[in-house]
Symmetry: C2
Subunit: 408 residues, 2 copies
């Protein structure tokens, strides 16, 4: 019997560690022959584009480098598998193609590393395979910097993103404080509907740093984000701080008819990128002082040079646990974590129904958002801090981190 593994959705610093975990644990099972990598997520299964991982991970050094390489070495996709419908010939063909690929290569288990949408694929494929009587296991391995998957304490990829964001924000804070004039710096952080990553900037307070002085998460503004209230918050902080620092989730939507949301991805997700730029303009118009907006952009999801060692180790751990789960007969499940304690930090690996994780989002607890909706409470600190602990030192060649590369 062989197995296959694919990566999907947006890149993270940890997704290749989960892949390495699957590959390594498979080697512990004598009954597993090949581990195939599916190129570009589920598309590789539909189009029969598989690569035996043993051909590309030829040494321990390859595996070690892979774990420290960001993004998805096997490529990714945003392909959404439709619900099986025998009356829809396109869908029928898609599912049949996947089964053909699985059977052609004697694949007894398929592992899908991804976020909410990928868990939807896990759920659908598992249901189909059961319905057509195929004994092929499908297991989801979570990853998303958004940390918004239900049923797990947190998701691989989040801790590294949070560590990078905190480190970078602290440097931006140093940068913003140099001049003797009043300034406002607005930093836009990823998170469309869930504010976990933006909220995690509160970790700087563990080291006595009061900034960011204002933290805006989407959960607090489901009924609209008032520009007037925002400007009043900023004005109040300007009385206390010469360099005001604001962290804002990309998903904040100003309640202002001049604000235009642009773009939408294949899943219908709206791209709100640009809220910081808009708030910058509002502040400049109102206060006339130095205002700067900064988008942390894709760097926050792919900066493996500032990865959390805890995060990468856990990503590998769930990759291994996924193989164990499939080999013990599980299917249609997503691996996850249950937190046992913060100090000392202890988690156990669990699995939940992929259906429970699919297409739903997990939000910040209400009581972590301050009553005035402009900050995060200290309760959140205990949750976030363990996830950013430990450093992963890159291997350097010519002064530049070395990445594992499958091809150009």
């Amino acid at each position: 019997m062989n197995i296959a593994v694919a990566q999907s959705g947006g890149p993270t610093a940890a997704i290749n560690s989960s892949l390495a975990g699957v590959f390594e644990r498979a080697g512990d099972y004598g009954e597993i022959g090949q581990v195939f990598g599916s190129i570009n997520g589920i598309e590789g299964m539909i189009n029969d584009e598989l690569v035996p991982l043993v051909n590309i991970l030829t040494t321990d050094h390859d595996i070690d480098l892979l774990k420290r390489t960001p993004s998805t070495v096997l490529g990714s996709c945003r392909y959404k598998l439709r619900t099986y419908d025998p009356n829809d010939s396109v869908t029928e063909t898609e599912y049949m193609n996947i089964v053909n690929t699985l059977e052609k290569h004697d694949i007894g288990a398929f592992f899908y590393i991804g976020g909410n949408d990928s868990m939807d694929t896990v759920m659908k494929l598992d249901k189909y395979l059961r319905a057509v009587g195929k004994n092929i296991k499908v297991i989801g391995i979570p990853k998303t910097i958004d940390n918004d998957l239900p049923g797990t304490d947190h998701t691989p990829g989040f801790g590294s993103a949070a560590k990078y964001v905190a480190t970078t924000l602290q440097e931006i804070i140093r940068d913003s404080r140099v001049y003797s004039i009043q300034s406002i710096t607005i930093v836009e952080i990823m998170g469309r509907n869930a504010g976990w990553l933006t909220a995690s900037t509160c970790v700087l307070r563990a080291n006595g740093e009061p900034a960011p002085h204002l933290i805006y998460v989407p959960e607090a503004y489901k009924n609209g984000f008032s520009i007037e209230k925002f400007l009043a918050d900023v004005e109040s902080m300007m009385k206390r701080y010469r360099a005001v620092i604001v962290a804002v989730s990309e998903g904040i939507v100003p309640d202002d008819r001049n604000y235009v949301k642009t773009g939408a991805d294949a899943f219908g997700h709206t791209d709100n990128s640009g809220v910081a730029k808009y708030l910058e303009k509002c502040c400049a118009d109102r206060f006339g002082c130095k205002v700067r907006s900064i988008e942390l952009n894709v760097m926050q999801r792919c900066s493996s040079h500032m990865a959390s060692a805890t995060d990468l180790a856990e990503a590998e751990m769930v990759g291994k646990a996924a193989v164990d789960a499939a080999m013990s007969g599980d299917s249609g499940r997503m691996m996850g974590f249950r937190r046992i304690s913060n100090e000392p930090y202890r988690v156990e690996v669990i699995s939940i129904s992929a259906e429970e994780a699919a297409n739903r989002e997990r939000f910040l607890p209400d009581n972590w958002i301050t009553a005035d909706h402009s900050d995060i409470t200290m309760d959140a600190l205990g949750y976030f801090l363990p996830l950013i602990q430990g450093e992963v030192i890159p291997e350097y060649r010519n002064g530049i981190p070395v990445h594992f590369r499958l091809n150009q």
Copy 2:
């Protein structure tokens, strides 16, 4: 006798290392009493805002942390000292205030860490002090991520910025390659008139990475940057690469009447920030594929977590050499480097007239720009590579780098 030191201009990761160098070398001279830090550059000298560094750098650990802390611990300014004119009462008062501060605190030498504009201040202050018969030495210590100071092989701060940009760009390259669709990623890098930092992205080729596929520096486009030529370059790369990566200097000005330059700082520098966003729009309109623009923003100048060990060591070295120069009677000079060899990398510290460095810029050699103006030649590699060598591992507390902080 005491001495004073100030920091000016935009932040870098290395400017505090030069400050530490001045402080440490001063301790080697029995005749030097206090080392005063001037708050917010020359403004601190005008307003008599000085702090004895011994009060804030109380332990070896403080000094060690300071060297690894980005930006300017003493604050900065963009204050331009006017040419002395006895008929202009404002200017007269300014110079008299500086002399009062110098004499009140028995300051025999003043060190100014900064870029082109700061060297103008060094030159003017030295001329004035000589003219009024004051035996007070003024020495400039170079720093700028722009690497554009004349008379020196390179400037402290540049190597760390280049190392951060190369590291981050490589991660963006990984991120851009995940999907199976055609994409274009345009990364905007600091440099108004000089393209050193943008050109330095060619270092990735030392490790076999062909991206960035197009590198645009201002030196190649003094007569205007044609959008049509740019789109033709991109189209040509799209035939070879699924994920085209473009590095563009912020100073590139599209030769297009729809392109509007915005803003200007206190020195009359135009803020061209936004060229990548503009090129993104042009590519999206023409090619209709996935296009993303990324501004590396202030992170490229303040990311001490990815500092070059060579850069920080050299920044400290010129700080120390500046004290030696003043003590041996020099004044009106800027410290710098002369490169002796690339392999092995060897430099010697030199000094040049501040007048030679002031208000002038040093540009990329013409022969480092390819004939088609869209790339950098391999000749540049030997120059850039030694400057990014060696890592400076931060000290971590709670998973976050520890910075030296003078105040909140």
